[in-house]
């Protein structure tokens, strides 16, 4: 069966329609009933979205090809190009998995105040994220980025507590400035090269004067880097991520910074391949500092979710390390560093979300996330299931075999050692040890010991049925992490295919076929 490229628009169109439909049910009257409608609609949509993503994954990675949709049959640089390759499909699948996990978790943990239009906003976020993974030109990438940022702003401040709003202001301002830098880079690109289509940019960028090339590469690195939470522009993340509802934190921690990483993975090998080599020391330095500052920050803070949001930063450093090693000369397969980076991305999106969900559930169980508070102790005895799940997820994050954290870190360290980058390999191993240390500290203060004060579970979690609804998706994510760790060979093969597609610029250009002349396609 031939793949109809029009399906490529579906990951954007389906959540968009469902979100709009969900807003219809947002009246304040009959709230219980209307929330049920929104929940059901969202559940159906995220399942459809995941199935669609899995199909795309089979078409791109399974058959090793790229899928291109030229909107309205306008040839490449003139119309809107939508392109899916292995990396896009992997990211779409992960987004689908996370959305499917978050929806029941939100059903289990949210009360009426929190869930005002949470579900439509979740779907709008999905629209932006899916669109950013599929965009084939810089300006659409910008627009989809704004769609996802706009819904993330509202999700972050949903509930309107003071800490949320002051954290939200930092988040909004920093992200807006980063977006404006991105927009300015797009403007300069268009006025120098006369195109925004990524494939055509890949052809034309070499004709630009070196100073302009360096300027654009630097501006895009700053813009995406600050969205991804890279050193030194990461401080907006730990100052805002612990404030919203745990379901929102888990979604953001697993998804949003990784969109920034995805764009770095996409833009640098495609448009600035020479800078990937020339700036390799810079990229590796950023990666190292990001890992170190993230993990040291995590060791210095005292609440569960704050600690986990610092870990988000430190983990992002590993992915950038994969980007830095993408062009390195190794005796291993082509693009081994990149493949290890993609595998790390897969591992981290799953495990980070599971961990933030489990940490959030622990906070909701006792009504406090402070590691020194009196009621947050001895959770292991009171909530054994939650404790086991948290334990497994924490070990996976730290990189203990047989979980996915081990194979992905092994891949990165192997790539670093294979290309004689001793320093970054050492730093990444040191950071692993620190991660394990801070996880042990969290475990000791939250799960061991005996509670001095009775805990006050937040109202929704008092129902046993809702507790299961909360635990089930976390358990499923941890099981997925274990499965990736145990069956790492096929997963690594898929990420190698994706990495080779990302590094194969000619293939990308051939798939999009940008032309300098205006010609109309034949209508069938």
């Amino acid at each position: 069966m031939n793949f109809n490229p029009n399906w490529l628009a579906a990951p954007v169109v389906i959540p968009l329609c469902a979100a709009a439909l969900g807003l219809v049910f947002s009246q304040t009257r009959y709230r219980q009933h209307t929330t049920r409608m929104q929940q059901g609609l969202t559940l159906v949509t995220v399942v459809l979205n995941l199935l669609l993503a899995l199909w795309l994954l089979y078409e791109t990675v399974g058959l090793n090809q790229r899928l291109v949709l030229q909107m309205g049959l306008w040839p490449a640089p003139f119309g809107v190009t939508i392109i899916a390759d292995g990396l896009s499909a992997i990211m779409l699948t992960l987004t689908g998995i996370l959305a499917l996990a978050i929806t029941p978790y939100a059903m289990g943990t949210m009360d009426d105040r929190d869930r005002m239009n949470f579900y439509p906003l979740l779907l709008f976020l999905l629209v932006g994220v899916n669109g950013a993974f599929l965009a084939g030109d810089l300006f659409n990438l910008y627009v989809f980025f704004e769609v996802l940022l706009m819904s993330s702003f509202v999700l972050l401040t949903l509930g309107g507590q003071r800490a949320q709003i002051s954290g939200g202001i930092r988040y909004v301002v920093l992200n807006l400035v980063a977006s404006l830098i991105f927009l300015a880079a797009a403007g300069i690109t268009y006025s120098t090269l006369g195109t925004l289509n990524m494939a055509q940019l890949a052809i034309r960028m070499e004709q630009a004067p070196p100073s302009v090339q360096a300027l654009l590469a630097g501006m895009l690195l700053v813009a995406y880097g600050s969205k991804a939470g890279l050193f030194p522009i990461f401080f907006w993340l730990p100052s805002s991520y612990h404030t919203p509802h745990p379901a929102v934190t888990a979604l953001f921690g697993g998804l949003l910074t990784k969109v920034g990483i995805y764009t770095l993975f996409r833009i640098f090998p495609l448009i600035f391949p020479s800078y990937l080599i020339e700036w390799q020391p810079l990229i590796l330095a950023i990666a190292g500092f990001t890992m170190l500052t993230g993990v040291l920050g995590a060791m210095s803070v005292n609440t569960i979710r704050r600690m986990l949001s610092f870990h988000v930063i430190s983990q992002v450093g590993y992915m950038v390390m994969g980007l830095g090693l993408a062009s390195a000369n190794t005796q291993l397969a082509v693009g081994f560093g990149m493949a290890a980076g993609i595998l790390y991305l897969v591992h981290n999106m799953i495990v980070k979300t599971a961990l933030l969900m489990a940490g959030g559930a622990a906070e909701l169980e006792v009504g406090s996330g402070n590691l020194y508070s009196k009621q947050l102790k001895g959770l292991a005895a009171r909530r054994p299931m939650l404790a086991i799940i948290f334990f497994l997820a924490a070990f996976s994050l730290a990189g203990v075999p047989p979980f996915s954290g081990f194979v992905s870190k092994l891949g990165l360290v192997q790539a670093a050692l294979g290309s004689q980058h001793w320093l970054i390999a050492g730093v990444s191993l040191l950071v692993s040890v620190f991660t394990l240390m801070s996880m042990v500290r969290l475990w000791q203060s939250a799960f061991t010991g005996k509670a001095d004060r009775p805990s006050l579970p937040v109202a929704p979690l008092a129902h046993p049925q809702r507790r299961w609804l909360t635990l089930l998706p976390i358990g499923a994510l941890v099981a997925l992490s274990l499965a990736i760790g145990l069956f790492s060979a096929p997963v690594f093969r898929w990420s190698t295919i994706a990495a080779q597609q990302v590094l194969d610029r000619e293939g990308y250009i051939r798939a999009v076929q940008p032309s300098d002349e205006i010609m109309m396609l034949e209508l069938k």
């Binding site: 309107g160 800490a163 202001i169 301002v173 006025s191």
Partner: protein, 149 residues
């Protein structure tokens, strides 16, 4: 000459905007963001070239031919239109956020804290530890440090 003037204006807008963004008061932050977005929009606009009295339309529609100097590039104008909408909406969102924060701080609006809200204690603790990050909230009345115990 037009190019030079435009470059100067963009530079002044971005420079002033950066200065304002680094200030502590919320209103300057908002103004700084507004100036930044105007500067970037002008930068996009200047990508289309400055040609007076020319349409952004290709006149010869049968074979799409024509001198490049006989029309203005319409794409940057379409891009700015989108960018203006996005930056305007986000700026207004920040205005609402700042307004909301101020009204919470000054006690004009009752914050919905339920009597048995277990997170109320945490929120107070948070407000104290937040102090290290406070680069925007000099307007906030911080809780005294003694409440940490």
């Amino acid at each position: 000459m037009t190019e030079f003037m435009m470059a100067l204006v963009i530079g002044v807008l971005l420079g002033t905007g950066t200065y304002l963004l680094l200030q502590r008061t919320a209103i300057r932050l908002i103004l700084g963001i507004a100036l930044w977005s105007h500067g970037v929009n002008l930068l996009l606009f200047s990508g289309g070239g400055f040609k007076r009295g020319l349409p952004p339309i290709i006149l010869d529609k049968t074979n799409f031919a024509g001198e490049i100097s006989s029309f203005v590039d319409p794409l940057p104008q379409a891009l700015i239109l989108t960018a203006i909408i996005i930056s305007f909406s986000i700026t207004s969102f920040i205005v609402v956020l700042v307004n909301r924060r101020n009204s919470i701080v000054q006690g004009q609006e009752e914050v919905a804290i339920t009597p048995n809200d277990p997170f109320a204690v945490d929120a107070q603790l948070d407000a104290v530890t937040e102090e290290d990050y406070e680069f925007l909230e000099d307007a906030l009345i911080l809780l005294p440090r003694q409440q940490r115990e």
